[in-house]
């Protein structure tokens, strides 16, 4: 399969309280066109930083990000971000929220509204165009959020724990919906999550990151048949994948908790 997105030697350090903190180190990744890849890891493994680097929201300290062979240096129309918080504009109705991408890129608005309508339809929000965000449930807001990213016309969607704030049942439904939307649109998706079962259910490939600095610890190809239904979560192979990834991640989670405890104690001592 053709490579859509690639990183070479990607690294990022931040300055915090005068100390340099290395968030990511030496990431070499190739994401194929139309592939669904999830990233899991303990808190502080640089998952979100990774997505922000790919989007061009922040600049890498070292290494490169390329999309279709060209360097990504600033946010653009080809890569769209789906944030954990829905990030909808409360003063705009659903349709006006959905067209913000083309609007900012000064595209033809009539066409943008048509595209937005069809994507709202795809995410199951037909008839909600004139509603305002405060009238929607959490799950519906995340659907708008997805429709907005799709309407921006990007080939690559970066999703940063988009279902984390939803209740367990809604989350399951949204997972099933996302696989359907992914199948129907053929987008390349990079998905960050804390939920291992979510990663296994959605992905072709799961990348396990180590704790700070974030590096690639393990890469697990999910060889489960598609299309996938939620009942797949009860299959023994599914449980095996979840188990395997959990074991890979467990040590990292312990390390992450240790680092957090140390940091809290250091603050308490000051």
């Amino acid at each position: 399969m053709a490579t859509k997105l690639a990183t070479r030697g990607l690294g990022k350090s931040f300055q915090k309280d005068g100390k340099a903190i290395e968030a990511l180190r030496g990431l070499d990744l190739d994401i194929a066109r139309g592939e669904f890849v999830s990233i899991v890891g303990a808190s502080g493994c640089g998952k979100t930083t990774f997505l922000r680097l790919i989007n061009g929201l922040i600049k890498p300290t070292s290494g490169t990000v390329t999309l279709d062979g060209a360097d990504v240096s600033a946010p653009g129309a080809n890569i769209a971000f789906v944030f954990q918080q829905d990030g909808l504009f409360p003063w705009r109705n659903v349709l006006d929220n959905t067209v913000i991408g083309p609007e900012l890129q000064r595209k033809d608005m009539n066409e943008a509204r048509r595209t937005a309508s069809s994507f709202l339809n795809l995410v199951g929000l037909r008839g909600f165009e004139k509603h305002f965000p405060h009238e929607l449930s959490g799950g519906m807001k995340q659907r708008v959020n997805m429709a907005r990213a799709l309407t921006a016309g990007a080939d690559v969607l970066l999703m940063d724990e988009p279902f984390a704030a939803l209740d367990a049942q809604t989350r399951e439904i949204m997972q099933a919906e996302l696989t359907r939307i992914w199948r129907e649109t053929g987008k390349t998706i990079l998905f960050v999550t804390h939920q291992i079962d979510e990663a296994v259910f959605l992905s072709d490939r799961v990348l396990v990151f180590t704790v700070r600095p974030g590096r690639l610890k393990e890469e697990v190809t999910i060889d489960l048949p598609r299309p996938r239904e939620l009942t797949l979560k009860r299959a023994p192979q599914f449980a095996n994948y979840v188990d395997h990834i959990w074991q890979s991640i467990e040590q990292e989670v312990r390390e992450s908790i240790r680092l957090e405890t140390e940091a809290t104690l250091a603050i308490a001592k000051r």
Binding site: N55, L57, A74, P75, G76, A77, A80, F81, F83, Q85, G87, F89, P90, W91, I100, G101, E103, L104, Q105, F132, P133, H134, A152
Partner: protein, 253 residues
Amino acid sequence: MPTSIWRGLLSFGVGAIIWEATARYLDNKLFLVPLGAIFDRFMEMARSGDLAADASVSFIEFIGGFGLAAIVGIGAGIAMSASKRIREFFDPWVSMLYATPTIALGPLFMLALGIGYGSKIALIFLTAVFPILINTVAGLTTTDRVLLEVVRSFGATRMQTYFKVRMPAALPFIIAGLRVAVARALVGVVVAELFGARAGLGFLIFRSAQVFDTAGLWVSVFILAICGVASVEFLKWVEKRMAPWRFQNIEDE
């Protein structure tokens, strides 16, 4: 009509009955006069044209002072929100003047600017400008970080971020500032005229008191109260129309 309006009317009705009963019981025409007498005085004053003349003077002062406060408050707010340096330089002054009862400067303005419109507008401006300024700055500098990140991820320019995110997010704050300022400006009108004037609703209160015309005094107070309530309610309505999401929790109760 919603029940809330009926309850409001009922509340006013009960208030009027208590007023009337107290006025008749006390029988002190210098302090509390029956509502009927106030209404009669109102009709009398309206017919003679005195009331319209006084009201229009106050109205011009109010529009001048409040209008100026809105323009300067929003303008300066935008300037202060644009740069942290400008903000930090002016912040102590704004905080100090906002907390100071600027009304106390009334006599000073009278000395400097005379008893015409100038001194009134200056005092009203000074009482009204700070809530507008402070709310404009707060609205423009507390934009939801997620929203800013969203437009940045879609490649928004600085101008786009300003006009499509920061400004609309600040608008409800600015209107809330105007609402607070309206009430303060009305106090400014009355106080400015008490310090020295030839006409106006505040001056009418002063003049009525001097000739023991309690009914005339109440006419002026009632007009000011109605104007105050009407303008505050109007701005509340605008705020609700423009930012319904901010009222969600209150209405759910």
